[in-house]
């Protein structure tokens, strides 16, 4: 077992776990899990290791966009439309 990565190390990494994404964005785990399951957040999952890893910069930008759409009052299907996912 090991220590958690420091914020500094997370912010310097290309890929992060969902827990690390929670720590750097402050968005609830259940919310990020839902976005992931709805295909709104890109991730990679290698066959031998089932843990999902997220490309940090793209994921953080996408979460910021989704947050902005939510602030404007858009529903999830509407946001998916805006993100070109429908």
């Amino acid at each position: 077992m090991s220590r958690q990565r420091s914020i500094e190390n997370i912010l310097a990494s290309e890929y992060v776990s969902i827990g690390e994404l929670v720590r750097i964005t402050g968005v609830r785990y259940s919310t990020l899990k839902y976005y992931t399951e709805e295909g709104m957040l890109p991730f990679e999952q290698t066959e031998e290791n089932l843990t999902r890893r997220f490309p940090r910069e793209i994921a953080v930008k996408q979460i910021e966009r989704i947050r902005n759409f939510r602030t404007q009052g858009l529903s999830i299907p509407e946001i998916k439309g805006q993100l070109g996912l429908n």
Partner: protein
């Protein structure tokens, strides 16, 4: 977003919504674990000692007088306040109509809302997702169990899943194998917490809620009554009154769901607003706040 020590991370979770003026049983248990967190922190970056040594150190750190616990509280309060992570606000109970009219004020700690979410949700993600559990989260998990905060943080469904994760962790991790059998809580404090927890559980069942509505004196903190301005005011007007009262008392409120039974996030916790009325000399309409675990 700042890098926090294990002691600070645990304190953020354990001190949130605790009475800031009095040494309650729940706060004593939290402070004992804050002292123990300092011991664990010492070993996080190095190698872990043999289990008897670790047990001895943790027990002597936690088994201290009330005076020492007060000193621990003072130190951690100063450290977190300096980082803008802890404030004192009037207790939610002070928003209750009876307390407002009696002019009674009780204060509680409120942890920085963003940082609280970061810490609790980051830990939840690591525990609920497949993959390794870090030593930091293993220590936090043990501290939460010993302080009695674990059951407040995770829903019943999550607790069921976590039971198997914890068993797996116990088999695979040297730290978990050494740490999990160690108990530092005081029997009386643990008994009091279990009793209060049981009482909470009873009052969240349909029978308990009904009983509470009829006799709120059984558990006032689970039945905070906020009166509406006028009789037969609609949902929106009722909600306005609740938000105004909470604002006046310095609480941060977010409406997550409107309607007949709105769901509110008050500081770091969730509550449902149940429309009801009480009868004193005349009927007073308003809502009761009921704790809601997400």
């Amino acid at each position: 977003m700042s890098e926090l020590s294990l002691k600070e991370r645990f304190s953020l979770i354990a001190l949130n919504a605790q009475d800031s003026l009095h040494m309650t049983t729940a706060k004593k248990a939290a402070l004992r674990c804050i002292a123990a967190a300092e011991v664990l922190e010492k070993y996080l970056d190095g190698s872990w000692p043999q289990q008897p040594v670790l047990e001895q150190e943790l027990k002597s750190a936690a088994d201290v007088s009330s005076h020492t616990l007060k000193q621990t509280e003072k130190e951690i309060k100063e450290s977190l306040t300096e980082k803008d992570l802890l404030t004192e606000v009037p207790n939610l109970l002070a928003c209750d109509m009876y307390y407002v009219t009696a002019g009674v004020n009780i204060f509680e700690y409120r942890c920085n809302i963003d940082e609280y979410t970061r810490q609790t949700e980051g830990m939840r993600a690591e525990l609920m997702e497949d993959g390794n559990i870090s030593d930091d989260v293993t220590c936090l998990l043990w501290l939460l169990r010993e302080s009695g905060c674990f059951y407040d943080l995770f829903s019943r469904a999550e607790q069921e899943y976590l039971a198997s994760r914890i068993n797996q962790l116990y088999l695979e991790s040297y730290l978990a194998k050494s740490l999990f059998p160690i108990e530092i809580h005081h029997s009386f404090e643990a008994f009091s917490q279990k009793f209060l927890k049981k009482k909470d559980e009873i009052f969240t069942t349909p029978f308990g809620t009904g009983l509470l509505f009829a006799c709120p004196v059984f558990e006032r903190s689970q039945s905070i009554f906020i009166e509406a301005d006028a009789w037969f005011s609609g949902n929106d007007k009722r909600l306005e009154c609740v938000i105004r009262r909470l604002d006046e008392k310095g609480h941060v409120v977010h409406v997550l769901r409107a309607g007949t039974v709105p769901l509110l996030k008050i500081d770091n916790l969730y509550y449902e607003c149940i429309p009801t009325q009480i009868v004193v000399k005349t009927a007073i309409q308003g809502v009761r706040l009921r704790r809601y675990v997400m």
